[in-house]
C-alpha cells in the first residue's frame, strides 16, 4: 500500500514536473544577430520570436517582426515593451548598460558566440536547443552541419590535388559604389578559404582599395557581396562604378560570383555549407565550363 502510494506520488510528481518543465520554457523571444536568428528559426522557434534586430534578415518573414534596431545600439525600454522572456544575442550585442537594465527587469539575457568556428557553433546550438526544448534536434542539426562542412573539405582536398587555388578578391559594396575589399581576419576571408579560394588581399579588415594595387593583383575570380542590389544588376553597377575591375582577368573571363552579404555577419549560419558549395563550384569550374 505504502509502496503503491509512493509509486503513484512519484508518477504524478514526474508528470507534473515534466509539464512544469515544458511550460517553464520561455515563450517570448527577442533575437539579435543574423545567424543566431536563423538558427532559432531552424530549430522551429520562429513562432516564439516577438522581435529581431536589423541584422536578422533571413528568412524574409523575420522582417515582418518589430525591429529593435541595430544590435549594438539597443534600447532597454523598447525591448521591454515587447514583453520578452528571453533576449538572445551575441557578444556584439550592447551597449552593456542597456543589457544590465534589461536583466534587472527580469528578462533572461542569453549570450551566444559570433565567432566563425565550429566549436562556438556547437555550444551555441546546444545552448539554443536547451532553451527551445529541442536539444535532440539541435544535436542533429549540428551533426548535419559538421558533415556538410567535412564533405566540402574532402571535395576540396581532392580538387586541390590536381588544381591550384585561384586568386580571389571579395568586394563588399553598396549598389556598386566604392567597394571595400575583404582582407585577412574577416568572416569573408574565412569563407573564401573554406571554399578553396586564395584571398589576394593581405591587409586586415575591410578596406577601400586603390585602383593601382588592384590592377597589380590580377584576381582570377571576383566575389562581390552587395548590400543593396543582387544578381546581374549588382554586377553591372559594380563594373560601371569601378571600371578598373572590368580589366581584371576575372572580369574578362566572366568569373564573377556573388554571395549574400548577410552571410558575413554574426558567425556561422545555417545557409553557409550550401553557399560554400556554390562558391567552390565557381572557383573550380568543371572542365567543360572552363574552356568555353
Amino acid at each position: 500500500m505504502r509502496l503503491s502510494t509512493s509509486a503513484i506520488a512519484l508518477v504524478v510528481g514526474l508528470l507534473i514536473n515534466h509539464g512544469a518543465l515544458a511550460s517553464e520554457l520561455p515563450q517570448r523571444w527577442v533575437s539579435a544577430g543574423g545567424a543566431l536568428s536563423e538558427w532559432v528559426v531552424a530549430l522551429g522557434g520562429e513562432p516564439k520570436l516577438v522581435g529581431v534586430d536589423t541584422t536578422s534578415q533571413h528568412p524574409a518573414t523575420l522582417k515582418t517582426l518589430p525591429s529593435i534596431g541595430y544590435q549594438r545600439q539597443l534600447s532597454a525600454e523598447g525591448i521591454l515593451s515587447l514583453r520578452p522572456q528571453v533576449l538572445a544575442g551575441t557578444e556584439e550585442m550592447g551597449p552593456p548598460p542597456v543589457l544590465a537594465q534589461i536583466r534587472s527587469a527580469g528578462v533572461q539575457v542569453e549570450m551566444f558566440s559570433a565567432q566563425p568556428d565550429l566549436q562556438a557553433l556547437k555550444s551555441n546550438l546546444e545552448h539554443l536547443g536547451i532553451l527551445l526544448g529541442k536539444a535532440a534536434e539541435a544535436r542533429a542539426l549540428f551533426g548535419d552541419y559538421e558533415q556538410a562542412l567535412q564533405r566540402q573539405k574532402n571535395r576540396l582536398v581532392k580538387i586541390q590535388a590536381t588544381r591550384q587555388a585561384p586568386g580571389v578578391l571579395l568586394l563588399v559594396g553598396n549598389a556598386g559604389g566604392k567597394p571595400l575589399v575583404a582582407g585577412q581576419d574577416t568572416a569573408a576571408d574565412w569563407m573564401l578559404r573554406q571554399a578553396g579560394g586564395h584571398n589576394l588581399a593581405t591587409h586586415t579588415g575591410y578596406k577601400p582599395f586603390s585602383a593601382e594595387s588592384l590592377a597589380g593583383l590580377s584576381p582570377q575570380v571576383l566575389v562581390f557581396a552587395d548590400r543593396a542590389l543582387t544578381g546581374e544588376a549588382a554586377r553591372a553597377a559594380l563594373f560601371k562604378e569601378n571600371p578598373i575591375l572590368a580589366s581584371t582577368p576575372a572580369a574578362k573571363q566572366g568569373r564573377v560570383l556573388e554571395v549574400d552579404p548577410t552571410l558575413l555577419v554574426g558567425g556561422l549560419g545555417p545557409r553557409l555549407p550550401q553557399n560554400l558549395e556554390v562558391l567552390s563550384a565557381g572557383f573550380y569550374p568543371t572542365s567543360s565550363e572552363a574552356t568555353p
Partner: protein
C-alpha cells in the same frame, strides 16, 4: 530695448515647458504604463508611503530607465546650452559654439582612441569598458581645450582671435586623427564610433550620471555670477576692462567652464550637436542679449529641447531607437528658421 517677451514671462514659460518636458519624458516611452501607475510609482520613488503592490514594473521602468535618462537629458541639454552662451559671449560672435575651442573634437578623438584601442586590445571587461570611453572623451576634450587656450596666450594675454584660429587648426588635426582611427577600425568598431558621434541618452545609469550632474550644477551656479561681466564684454575687451572687469580672468573661467561642462556632457551622452549653437540664439531672439536673463533661460530651454528631442528619438521607431543627434537638428533647425524669418518680417 524691446524684446518679444518680458524676462518674467519667459522664465515662467520656460519653467512650465521644462516641467512639462520632464513629466512627458517620465510618462511616455515604448512601454505604455497607465498614467495612474506612473504617478504612484513617481510618488513612491520620492519616498511617499504608497503600497508597492502591482507597481513593480512601473517602478522599475521609471526608476531604472526613465528617471536616469531624464536627468541625463536635463543635465546635458542645460550644460550644452550654457556653454554655448559662454562661447558666444567670449568670442562676441553669435556663430560660436562649444566646438570652437576644440572640446568636442578633442572628446571625439578621446572616444576614438578608447573605442579603437579597446577593440585592438581585444576588448575590456564589460564593467570597465563604458567608463574608459567616458574618461577618454572627457580627458580628450579637456586636453585639446587646454592646448587651444595655451596657444591663444601671448605676453600674459589671451588673444581671442588667435585662440579661435588655434581651435580651428586643432579641430582639423583631431579630425584627421579620428579619420585615421576610422580607417584602422574594423567594421564593428566603425559602427560603434559612428553611433557615438550621433549621441544618445540610451542606457543612462546613475553611476555615470552623478559626475555630470555635479559638473552641470557647478557650471550652472557659477556662470550666472559672471552675467554682468559678460554684458560688459559685449562692448569690447578694453571697454570691459575699463568698466572694472577682470577680462583675463573671465576668459579663463569661460573656457574652463565650457571645457568642463561640454566634456562631461559628451562623455556621458556622446556628441550632441546643435543645442549649444542654437538654444542661446532662440533665447536671445525671445528675450534680448542680457546675460542675466540669457544664462539661466538657456539652461531651461536647452534642457527642454533635449528632452523633447529624446522623446522623439525613443518613440519614433519604437521598439528601436534613433540617435538623438539626428533629432535635435531635425526639430530644432526648422523652429529656429521660423523664429529667424518671423523676426525679420
Amino acid at each position: 530695448m524691446t524684446t518679444l517677451v518680458k524676462p518674467r514671462t519667459l522664465f515662467i514659460g520656460l519653467t512650465l515647458l521644462c516641467g512639462l518636458a520632464t513629466w512627458l519624458s517620465l510618462a511616455l516611452g515604448p512601454v505604455s504604463l497607465p498614467l495612474w501607475d506612473t504617478l504612484r510609482a513617481a510618488l513612491r520613488l520620492m519616498g511617499l508611503p504608497i503600497d508597492a503592490y502591482g507597481l513593480e514594473q512601473a517602478e522599475l521602468i521609471l526608476g531604472q530607465i526613465r528617471l536616469p535618462r531624464t536627468l541625463l537629458g536635463l543635465a546635458v541639454g542645460g550644460v550644452l546650452a550654457l556653454s554655448g552662451v559662454a562661447m558666444q559671449g567670449l568670442f562676441r560672435n553669435p556663430l560660436a559654439d562649444p566646438g570652437l575651442v576644440g572640446v568636442s573634437s578633442g572628446a571625439a578623438l578621446g572616444a576614438a582612441v578608447a573605442i579603437v584601442g579597446s577593440a585592438f586590445l581585444g576588448g575590456l571587461p564589460d564593467v570597465f569598458g563604458p567608463y574608459v570611453l567616458s574618461l577618454c572623451a572627457f580627458a580628450g576634450g579637456l586636453g585639446v581645450t587646454a592646448l587651444v587656450y595655451r596657444l591663444g596666450r601671448r605676453d600674459g594675454q589671451t588673444h581671442v582671435a588667435t585662440m579661435l584660429l588655434a581651435g580651428i587648426a586643432l579641430t582639423a588635426l583631431s579630425g584627421s586623427a579620428v579619420g585615421l582611427f576610422t580607417y584602422l577600425a574594423d567594421d564593428a568598431t566603425l559602427r560603434t564610433l559612428t553611433f557615438w558621434n550621433l549621441g544618445s541618452l540610451n542606457g543612462a545609469s546613475y553611476s555615470r550620471l552623478w559626475p555630470l550632474l555635479l559638473v552641470t550644477a557647478g557650471v550652472a551656479l557659477w556662470l550666472p555670477r559672471r552675467a554682468k561681466a559678460l554684458n560688459a564684454l559685449l562692448l569690447g575687451e578694453s571697454e570691459a576692462s575699463h568698466l572694472g572687469v577682470d577680462v583675463e580672468g573671465l576668459k579663463r573661467e569661460l573656457v574652463f567652464c565650457t571645457a568642463l561642462g561640454v566634456g562631461a556632457a559628451v562623455a556621458a551622452a556622446g556628441m550632441i550637436g546643435f543645442v549649444g549653437l542654437v538654444v542661446p540664439h532662440l533665447v536671445r531672439l525671445l528675450a534680448g542679449p542680457d546675460h542675466r536673463v540669457l544664462l539661466p533661460a538657456s539652461v531651461l530651454a536647452g534642457a527642454s529641447l533635449l528632452l523633447c528631442a529624446d522623446l522623439v528619438a525613443r518613440l519614433a521607431l519604437a521598439p528601436a531607437e534613433l540617435p538623438i543627434g539626428i533629432v535635435t537638428a531635425f526639430i530644432g533647425a526648422p523652429f529656429f528658421l521660423y523664429l529667424l524669418l518671423r523676426g525679420r518680417a
